[in-house]
């Protein structure tokens, strides 16, 4: 179920120009190293993508 929803939302976000910001990975509680690797890699990836463009838009809007 999760994989279906995520696959769809990933498509939708891509269409909106927000691709790559959602990721799904199955990690069992026994796979500590995999968890660390995935989270580190994803954090790094998001950091490289720069600040959240939506935050800027919403702040601009609030300021009028």
């Amino acid at each position: 179920m999760t994989v279906k929803r995520i696959a769809f939302v990933q498509e939708l976000l891509k269409f909106m120009g927000l691709e790559g910001r959602l990721h799904l990975e199955w990690i069992s509680s026994a796979e500590a190293q995999k968890y660390v690797d995935v989270v580190t890699k994803f954090t790094e990836k998001i950091r490289n993508m720069g600040p959240n463009p939506l935050r800027a838009i919403n702040e601009m809007k609030k300021a009028g």
Partner: protein, 270 residues
Amino acid sequence: MDMVKAAKELLLQDKVDIFLGYRKLDGHQIPHGFTKAHVDDLDQLEISLNRYPLEKIACDLAQKDPALKIGILARDCSQRALNLLYTWDQLNPENIETLTVNCCPSPLSTHGDCSYLTPKPTGDYKKAHGVDYNDSPKDFLANHDSGERLSRWMYEFQKCIKCYGCRNVCPVCFCKECSLEHPNLVEPGVLPAEVPIFHLIRATHMAGRCIDCGLCEDACPAHIPLRMLYREVNDAVSDIFGYVPGDHIEKSPFSIIGKTVELTPAPMDV
């Protein structure tokens, strides 16, 4: 007119208790529920170029009386909407009779009289900064890079005045409580709405549901190209799951657990 005769027959032979169609009142083509008691009113039956969500009205009626037999003037999109509402148990197919109206061109008929077939005019500014009504999702994706897609959609979304018209007019929006009114998701009383959360919530909820009738886009006072957005939603659902809402009576892949779809999560590319 054959249509009138057929509708009269439905009422007179008690096949339906009420027939939903259109009539002209004060110069406006508006929906009307024809009954056996006033069967001659059917002489005024119109097909109407202005489409209203007759299926939603049928739901309203069915909710008040689940046993009510309803006749309905059905375009292709209505037929899809009805199928979807059958799927989700909002209408009982045994209680619905349809009179089909030619609208979208099909192999059976060469012409269609639906106003939605003509392209909508898109202004120059919208073409330059927003999203063209008449673009196909695939072209839009191909012709604009990621940053531009975002800025174009945000341009469209930030016009939203949160009238909820898109939801209110939608023939397949039947939930009693709507996530768009959930204070934790969409902050009430705040305008403009935080982008793009309102529209993304709606888009996700339309997945596996949107029957592409275009009434939402028509009802939008801010001219947001909603039909094009939900077409992308439909494309995604059909590409991933091979499911076309309203095509037949079958629950959406998001409501079926199990092996029907075998997907693996997309890899993370850095």
